[in-house]
Symmetry: C2
Subunit: 330 residues, 2 copies
């Protein structure tokens, strides 16, 4: 299923709800020599899981990576139904209403949770998980295979809002807020997660000049990203006062790859509000006692990224523009 690759390329499983910034993250992973994308699972969020898989297959095809397995994951969340995506942010098809060439293949027969399990065994102790949607598939994989954490190298999750407002409620960010029960399972599992919240993703942007550069890229995939960002940029005008976008999902990818460095990412207790109260979906991070500088709390297993050493935008654009055009030859 996978091509030969240098032993130094770390295998990555990517779980997404593709999505415009999911597409950016996917392209970043494909463009990163440090890792090898060995599988993608989809989940409902920005769009339903089935459409997210179609988008992912088509994007991979544009990059000449029809070899990467894509599995459809959870349509509904653990405790609640998926009630529809966010077409006013990501377009009606999830990729900014850009029509991508339809890839001549279908998703895997197994679901995303089972694809993750299979890859975890195949790459025992080596696999990194990057999630940029609700963590429903990860929770399902944990439920089916409680020993999963012992097989995994690292988990990086885009999600949460620590000291900034949420985006689906005053305190809840969409990925965690859409499936808090799954997030509880993610954080309860015996691995150390790196959480990449709105606190830092909203502070890193792409601008119109970046989008124009992507539209001229050698890669057909990257040019498609430039096209789909048009819709996404419109959404952010009220927030930033200009056409641009936050870099949510690509930041989780870049942190997992090691392409950017977090300078403030303390290990703190993180509790998910999974009540039915007004705080449902909040990632309650215990950031008391951090005023004088980041402090790792004894016993805390999960890190929350609050600040990068340098902005993600220029690094992301540089890597996407360097991505080779004749990908079909790979």
């Amino acid at each position: 299923m996978t091509l030969a690759r240098p032993a130094s390329r770390r295998p990555v499983y990517f779980d997404c709800d593709t999505g415009i910034d999911d597409s950016l993250a996917l392209a970043y992973l494909l463009a990163s020599p440090e890792i090898d994308l060995v599988g993608v699972g989809t989940v409902s969020g920005n769009i339903d899981a089935t459409q997210a898989a179609r988008n992912t297959l088509d994007l991979l095809q544009l990059a000449g990576r029809g070899d990467v397995p894509v599995a459809v994951g959870a349509h509904d969340f653990l405790a609640r139904r998926f009630t529809g995506g966010v077409p006013w942010i990501h377009g009606h098809n999830g990729v900014g209403d850009v029509t991508l060439p339809t890839a001549p293949r279908d998703p895997e027969a197994q679901d995303a949770a089972d694809l993750l399990r299979a890859l975890a065994h195949q790459h025992e102790g080596e696999l990194s998980i990057v999630t940029v949607g609700p963590t429903t598939n990860i929770a399902t994989a944990l439920a089916r295979e409680p020993g999963l954490p012992g097989l995994i190298r690292s988990v990086t999750t885009m999600g949460g809002a620590a000291l900034v407002p949420g985006n689906i409620s005053p305190v809840a960010e969409a990925n965690i807020g859409n499936d808090p029960e799954a997030a509880v399972m993610l954080l309860d599992a015996a691995w150390n997660c790196t959480l990449v919240p709105l606190d830092v993703t909203l502070e890193n942007q792409l601008f119109e000049r970046d989008r124009q550069a992507l539209l001229e890229a050698p890669s057909a995939l990257v040019r498609a990203l430039g096209a789909m960002l048009d819709v996404y940029f419109d959404y952010y005008v009220p927030l930033y006062g200009e056409r641009s976008c936050a870099l949510h999902d690509p930041m989780a990818a870049a942190i997992a790859v090691g392409g950017v460095e977090a300078v403030r990412a303390p290990a703190v207790e993180i509790v998910i509000d999974a009540t039915d109260g007004p705080g449902r979906g909040q990632t309650i991070c215990d950031l008391r006692g951090q005023r004088l500088g980041p402090v790792d709390r004894p016993g805390a297993r999960h890190r929350i990224v609050l600040e990068l050493a340098s902005p993600l935008g220029p690094h992301l654009v540089e890597r996407l523009l360097a991505f080779d055009g004749p990908e079909a030859a790979r």
Copy 2:
């Protein structure tokens, strides 16, 4: 019960859990020519309500204001019992273990909620409420007299944490967190509250040079404040990295009096988390859409103070030092 005063002095009812910073707030109110302190109710919080009343009587006596009625209020909160104060912050007696001369009088026979109700009728449409402890007494007064808001001019409450960590949980501030059910009643009532949260109170400090100045003040009350701040300053060393203190309670007093100006205090939806979940006691403020500047949300009745035009500390010290010494002559 009250002395003759210029008509321009607005009557203020002060509800407190005295407390070192409550003492600062009390002295500030006494030192403010804009208002007349017409009554004080106490509640458990920093210390139990009975001791808080004793402290308040003794502080008033030091200022020669044995005329201000003091009523003991709720010992326990609406849904939970008071489990003891915070002697490691405010000392064992609530006033930094400073021994105050015992005032030769006792609290009123009526409780704090009934004192508030009586004052509200006496000063119909004119009375301002300033709360710097749990809002249990206010909730009790509202339960006894649902028409109370129609009698009141303004409500200013020290409490909450919007975009900063809490101080009794990762998200809950002590005043709201100790009695969330009372805070729900406060915010549901038909008045517009001004909430003064940790976001702004932690950004305003007193320093050792200020304390030394207070120790030399003409007023015996203010010199006592300087003495009790010794204990309080110790508590803040791990937070600020130096001996100093936050200005929680005096800020609510100063905002109610008009002594300081809030430059960022948007009217937003505020919901109290009164669940038994991990967010219990949180003041969930909908601060989405405020990145480009403060925006009043349509229909929102309550303001949350996030930034002052100038620091409170210098204004507070100036007013306390100008407070006349021979107060007993008043």
